[in-house]
């Protein structure tokens, strides 16, 4: 059932796309590898489970989970990037990592480390073209992911805010001299990134129906790889990279075995970094306009 595997790979890739976009935003604009993203992904997934379990209407539960993720990302900005923007690129990594440990352990204290089963109202919605099975929530996730990336691209390209953000990406100091409110715009980057990560976490909880305090780590590592493979700082690159990694992962389980997934995925990442470090979606474009 190769076709079915390819479909599964694309669906999984949709989640990676969202996480990769979250990473690529902070890297592309602020040159900062934000390690709190797996924590935000996890928070949103866990709250999806918790709110659904406590009987909140599903629409409210999903909105609530995403809002919590975005709010957490806003808090992260207050305590990390704001204080360390003039230091070496790897310095804010420490405190964003601190937030990941904090989020994971708060959830651990509250709900324990067990795998929790998410009861979703859409578990059995499938379409079956021929012998294939396509889950509707997964399909919706994938379409949503691509649409949101297109929206983000428009935001960056056409709006005043997008222009300001691209100026910051080019050179934060010059942007500030030219009157762009860097201090007030950076939180926006974190909130948008947080929204993408939170959406990823929520969809993961709904599609795979399980959550636990450390669910963000594995997905985030794949998300980072997706970002690099596509081309760092390039939002369409994240889409390409995310889908590619989803497919490579599923195919290596299909043709080799589950133990070889890391080998193929990270081997691919290593090769890309050696031979085309700017990623699949071209160098010149990123250097010139970054998005």
């Amino acid at each position: 059932m190769l076709e079915q595997q390819l479909i599964n790979g694309l669906m999984l890739g949709g989640i990676y796309v969202l996480v990769a976009v979250a990473f690529t935003l902070t890297i592309g604009i602020l040159n900062f590898l934000n390690f709190s993203i797996p924590g935000i992904f996890m928070l949103s997934g866990v709250f999806t489970w918790f709110l659904l379990k406590s009987g909140v209407h599903w629409a409210l539960a999903l909105a609530g989970a995403i809002a919590i993720g975005a709010a957490a990302s806003f808090v992260v900005e207050r305590f990390t990037y704001r204080w360390m923007r003039s230091s070496d690129h790897y310095v804010p990594l420490v405190s964003s990592m601190g937030f990941l440990i904090l989020f994971e352990n708060l959830v651990l204290v509250q709900w324990g480390s067990d795998l929790q089963r998410v009861v979703t109202p859409f578990a059995d919605l499938n379409i079956r073209p021929g012998s294939l099975v396509i889950s509707i929530p997964q399909l919706v996730s994938l379409v949503l992911a691509v649409c949101l990336v297109a929206g983000l691209q428009q935001l960056l390209q056409r709006t005043q805010m997008g222009r300001a953000l691209r100026a910051i990406a080019e050179n934060a100091t010059t942007a500030e001299i030219l009157g762009i409110g860097v201090v007030s715009l950076v939180p926006a980057v974190f909130v948008i990134g947080g929204l993408f990560a939170a959406l990823g976490g929520m969809l993961f909880a709904l599609n795979y129906q399980q959550v636990h305090p450390f669910m963000g780590e594995e997905v985030a590592l794949k998300g980072i790889s997706a970002m690099v493979i596509g081309g760092m700082g390039n939002v369409w690159g994240s889409v390409l990279g995310g889908l590619l990694i989803g497919i490579v992962e599923v195919l290596s389980i299909h043709f080799l075995n589950a133990d070889f997934v890391d080998f193929t995925v990270y081997g691919l990442l290593l090769l890309i970094l050696f031979f085309k470090p700017t990623g699949l979606l071209g160098a010149s474009k990123i250097v010139r306009e970054k998005f």
Partner: protein, 286 residues
């Protein structure tokens, strides 16, 4: 010494070695997120050598360090084509590839792990840690260390002054990997068992965290960071389940006033000046 204290002490000593494994590349401006892979290489090579060929454990450990050093020199050629965040990610990918190799290598037990027969006690590890510290402190005071700082601060200018930037970067990377391999070898020989699951990216990241928290400008920084990271969770043990949450808050709060780490070179030179001034004043009055 009670078993509990001894256990903590061994972890602390090994963490200090791992801290210097991350310190050297950082001193040359490279973030190595694949340290765990080199730690694993050291552990497996030394264990295989002492198990299968009966090589004495200390020789096996030092040898494993050299194997990791050599491997890093080879891998440095393509890895150092990348810079900054790309370099960090390339080392990350390399570490992940190595870990999945360990998980799939049946000759050393695969995912089930690999037992180590010979044993190295806490005393031996203490001596080895002291050696790693002294080598680092010595190198730091030589021209080698000075050139490393120059490469970190400005590659182009260092190049203009005739420093072979690429060679120094490769050496820093390989020296770190060598220490990592040596530490990993000691780890395997002390705990008598090697589990491939341990050599994950999380292990690499936590070492990087304690080095950055301690500060990378001075030789004592990583030592302080390793001690802080090993001991604080133990001190917080009283608060049971909250301890890692409190620990995380400590990291976040410390980094705000001290983004360059707990120990900085300005601080040390101020301390030195303070001490020297005192002595001068004594001489004048006495």
């Amino acid at each position: 010494m009670s078993g509990y204290v001894e256990g903590i002490l061994v972890i602390l000593l090994l963490n200090v070695i791992f801290a210097y494994a991350v310190y050297w590349p950082l001193a040359a401006g490279q973030l190595n997120l694949g340290v765990a892979g080199f730690v694993g290489i050291g552990a497996y090579v030394s264990a295989y050598a002492s198990n299968e060929f009966g090589i004495p454990p200390y020789i096996a450990c030092v040898g494993a360090g050299f194997v990791a050093f050599a491997l890093a020199l080879v891998i440095a050629v393509p890895v150092l084509r990348t810079k900054g965040i790309y370099l960090a990610l390339a080392t990350f990918a390399f570490g992940q590839v190595l870990q999945s190799l360990f998980l799939n290598l049946e000759i050393v037990g695969g995912a089930a792990g690999y037992p180590v027969i010979s044993y190295i006690g806490v005393g031996g590890i203490a001596v080895c840690t002291a050696a790693v510290f002294l080598i680092t402190a010595f190198l730091d005071r030589t021209r080698f260390g000075l050139n490393m700082v120059a490469v970190h601060d400005d590659e182009a200018v260092s190049d203009l002054f005739g420093i072979n930037v690429r060679a120094y970067q490769a050496l820093a990377f390989a020296l770190g990997a060598g220490f990592a391999g040596f530490g990993g070898a000691l780890y395997g020989h002390h705990f008598s068992y090697i589990e491939p699951q341990n050599y994950s990216i999380l292990f690499s990241i936590s070492i990087v965290l304690f080095v950055l928290l301690g500060g990378t400008q001075t030789v004592v920084g990583p030592l302080v960071g390793a001690a802080f990271f090993t001991l604080l969770p133990e001190v917080l043990r009283g608060s049971e389940e909250w301890r890692y949450a409190i620990f995380a808050v400590c990291i976040i709060v410390i980094m705000i006033p001290r983004p360059q780490g707990l120990i900085t070179s300005d601080q040390l030179s101020a301390l030195r000046q303070f001490l020297v001034r005192d002595r001068l004043r004594e001489e004048r009055h006495g």
